[in-house]
């Protein structure tokens, strides 16, 4: 039954990626990107890569998002 979860997760990845693409508000986009990274972390757990999952959760979802947010706060918030 577990592979169903995999499929849902993977589809969710696609959805978040598209979300990043369409969102005009950069702040929102970076939050969605964070969700993308977190989902990715879970996928990696599913693929039996716990160390990667941990790193991705911390670095991908955490640090990168924070960096994005800092940049956005210092520059522009909207895309156009």
């Amino acid at each position: 039954m577990l592979w169903r979860l995999d499929i849902i997760l993977l589809l969710f990845l696609v959805a978040t990626a598209l979300g990043v693409y369409v969102t005009k508000d950069l702040m929102a986009a970076s939050i969605i990107f964070s969700a993308y990274s977190l989902t990715m972390a879970i996928v990696w757990q599913q693929l039996s890569a716990p160390d990667l999952a941990l790193t991705e959760a911390a670095v991908g979802a955490g640090v990168t998002t924070v960096l994005f947010l800092i940049t956005i706060s210092k520059t522009v918030r909207r895309e156009d």
Partner: protein, 121 residues
């Protein structure tokens, strides 16, 4: 038949799809921050692909636990070690890029690639 094949390679299909979405974002979005989100999506998709290559269905994590019986199938640990390096590289690239963007914004007052291009001339 096609569905079966698709199911067996579902990870790869998704990875490719994500790669394309990322690339599309990089190419079409004028905003530099957005471009970089796209690049991050691309990177993650490549990592997903590589880990999927090493993954064995129903294999266990490559960690030796006490009292483990022999013959357990491990997933291949090498790709994961590579990806770990890859993630670090990706985040440092992102950090550098974002620092550049802040600098660029201070100098030019915009992060729109088209406007910046106009400024270059």
């Amino acid at each position: 038949m096609i569905v079966q094949k698709l199911g067996a390679n579902f990870n790869y299909v998704i990875a490719t799809l994500l790669f394309c979405i990322g690339l599309f974002t990089v190419i079409t979005k004028p905003n530099l921050i957005k471009k970089f989100m796209g690049l991050n999506i691309m990177e993650a998709s490549v990592f997903l692909f590589i880990v999927s290559v090493g993954a064995v269905r129903e294999g266990s994590a490559p960690i030796v636990v006490k009292g483990m019986e022999k013959g357990v199938q491990f997933v291949n640990p090498l790709p994961q070690a590579l990806i770990l390096t890859g993630i670090v590289v990706a985040v440092s690239t992102t950090a550098l890029a974002l620092a550049l963007m802040i600098k660029l914004y201070e100098q030019c007052g915009t992060l729109d690639a088209d406007e910046l291009k106009g400024m270059e001339e």
